[in-house]
């Protein structure tokens, strides 16, 4: 029996999928998720074989969710669903990703279930680029052997790199991730500023700059007591940024 998770923000859409899956038979709908975050936690908990994933969902959309899903230890196969594809459809076709158009036909659903495939990272990256809607993640996903955790990007105060790991400091705590600071800097360039070889801070939480006795500058942050050192070559740029934000 195939274990399936239904993920859609609309109740009627979920109901219909459930009904269709019952008709197809030999399927166990293990759960329903209303949004991207829930989909991730449910997948972690329930380990479905397949996720029927709506693309347009508020907050974290289907594409980003799929991206995080692919990083799971046992990633489920993903079938995207969408009511109206716009330009997304071409991207899916080009990347051999299965998608279903709503209202979904039972036959098409059956076909898609028969030839489910797992998405690899390269496919997903290509999809994201083609869809140019959401290059940028809205959440950082951290998983350990027994839990999965999502941190909303607006809650992140800074990234601090250390040897192999990057510490993500957010308003309620800290976590470690294994991503190079450079790629984080590129991805979040709009909202974050590099102030040192090893640190990237959120523009939103910048409060000011202080100069300490030995002449080095440090940044003062809101919602956070630690003060990060600003390397000399970044001081002027940061000052300018603060002035611009003040306007």
């Amino acid at each position: 029996m195939m274990k399936i998770l239904i993920s859609d923000d609309e109740e009627l859409a979920r109901d219909r999928l459930r009904g269709l899956l019952e008709d197809v038979g030999n399927i166990d709908v293990v759960g329903e998720a209303h949004n991207g975050k829930e989909t991730l936690t449910q997948c972690h908990r329930l380990n479905p074989d397949i996720v029927l994933l709506d693309i347009r969902m508020p907050g974290m959309d289907g594409l980003e969710t799929a991206f995080h899903l692919a990083a799971l230890e046992k990633p489920p196969a993903v079938i995207f669903t969408t009511a109206y594809g716009d330009h997304a459809l071409e991207a899916f076709e080009a990347n051999a990703v299965d998608y279903l158009l709503k209202p979904i036909r039972r036959q098409r659903l059956q076909q898609a279930l028969e030839k489910t495939h797992h998405l690899n990272r390269a496919q997903l990256l290509a999809l994201k680029q083609d869809n140019n809607e959401n290059h940028i993640r809205t959440h950082i996903c951290i998983q350990s052997y027994d839990s999965i955790k999502l941190i909303a990007v607006p809650d992140i105060i800074y990234f601090l790199a250390d040897q192999k790991y990057v510490t993500v400091r957010h308003i309620t705590g800290e976590v470690l991730i294994e991503e190079p600071l450079v790629t984080l800097e590129q991805e979040f360039a709009e909202k974050f500023t590099r102030i040192h070889r090893n640190s990237l801070i959120s523009n939103y939480y910048i409060k000011g700059i202080e100069k300490i006795q030995d002449g080095t500058h440090r940044v003062i942050l809101r919602n956070c007591d630690s003060r990060l050192t600003i390397s000399r070559r970044h001081v002027a740029a940061l000052r300018k940024k603060i002035r611009e934000m003040g306007k």
Binding site: D9, E10, E11, L12, A13, D15, R16, G19, N35, R56, P58, G59, D61, A83, Y84, D86, L101, K102, P103, N132, E133, N134, T138, P154
Partner: protein
């Protein structure tokens, strides 16, 4: 695809707005030669002179006029790449002066040549200055008329283009494919579980499309437009469930007021699409309407999600622009549509004059 279409329609306007035609074009050259020749006929058909004189006169006049005309358009043709970046008024004045300069210069040359070759008696029997001034005056009148003609022609073409643009925009604003397919999905789902409700949605959807597919933009009773808006929101409420709450405050709207169709419904559609759908929490759309003096005012408010995807942001203004354009047509300056984004709230204010149904 529709976005590409509007873009394609808009493109030529921003690229080349010069009212002058392309004088290098062979058809334009032909037209100018014809006009110049007609002018030569008119000049020769004056009252004095015998038949033989007239023939010779015609050939010389034609020669001279064609010379001026072809030189002028030659220069305008060469100048066009520079002039197309200029304001129309300025380009018009410069072209006019260019033609006059060409006329004077060629008159001088013609005078000198004819004097040397003994044609003096025919062409330049008059004084030198008189000859030049006469040519200048004719050229001034004819080129002014010609430039004016090109300008009017250009305006006419612009108007036709603007009209078709407005039509396409109207269509775009009316049939929202996203809404259609979502509603179809709602119906498909309800058909299983609640057939009676499914029937209702089909009826509401039919009403909506009946109105949006008619060509008429004639004002309808305001109650009709509001009923349509309610039908629309009913469908969305079924789809979005708890996520959408609608607050109506419309006590003080006179029943006999009229409004062009689909002025309010698209604003609500915008509010759902940009305000509720991308919102992670539940949201409220409020519609307030009242009569202020001799006008009727509606305010539609929706929440703004903190991180609006780019694709949604870009499509935001099609409906608003479309309604603005139609307000302008119906009420000139008396109709108003203003939008304000204040923090996490988006307000749309629609003002129309209170006009009673006949």
């Amino acid at each position: 695809m529709q976005d590409n279409l509007t873009a394609a329609l808009r493109e030529p306007r921003s690229e080349d707005t010069l009212f002058l035609p392309d004088f290098c074009n062979i058809r334009i050259v032909f037209a100018v030669v014809m006009i110049a020749q007609l002018l030569a006929f008119i000049l020769v058909l004056g009252p004095q002179g015998n038949l033989v004189d007239r023939w010779i006169n015609l050939s010389l006049t034609s020669l001279f006029i064609q010379w001026v005309a072809l030189s002028s358009i030659g220069i305008l043709c060469l100048c066009r790449p520079v002039m197309k970046h200029w304001e129309n008024n300025f380009a018009g004045i410069v072209s006019y002066l260019l033609v006059l300069v060409v006329t004077v210069a060629l008159s001088e040359i013609a005078y000198v040549i004819s004097k040397d070759s003994g044609l003096e008696t025919l062409l330049t029997s008059t004084w030198h200055t008189e000859f030049v001034l006469r040519n200048l005056a004719i050229s001034a009148i004819i080129s002014a008329v010609a430039l004016r003609y090109f300008y009017v022609q250009h305006q006419l073409k612009n108007n036709i283009e603007a009209e078709s643009r407005a039509r396409i925009q109207a269509l775009q604003a009316r049939i929202h494919p996203h809404f259609l397919f979502n509603s179809m999905n709602t119906i498909a789902s309800l058909t299983r579980s609640q057939p009676a409700l499914a029937e209702e949605v089909v009826e509401d959807l039919a009403d909506l499309f009946r109105v949006s597919l008619t060509d008429s933009d004639k004002p309808v009773p305001i109650t009709k437009e509001l009923e349509l808006s309610r039908h629309y929101l009913n469908i969305e409420k079924l789809r979005l469930g708890q996520r959408l709450t609608v607050q109506w405050r419309l006590d003080a709207i006179p029943d006999d007021a009229t409004i062009p169709p689909l002025m309010i419904q698209p604003l609500l559609e915008n509010a759902v699409y940009h305000g509720i759908e991308p919102l992670t929490e539940n949201g409220v759309i409020s519609i307030t309407g009242h009569k202020v003096g001799n006008t009727i005012e509606f305010i539609i408010t929706n929440p703004v999600p903190p991180h609006l995807p780019k694709s949604r942001r870009s499509s935001n203004h099609i409906a608003i622009e479309n309604i603005r354009e139609r307000l302008q047509i119906h009420y000139d300056k008396q109709g108003k549509l203003e939008t304000t984004l204040a923090g996490n709230r988006f307000d749309v204010r629609l003002v129309i004059p209170y006009s009673r149904a006949e």
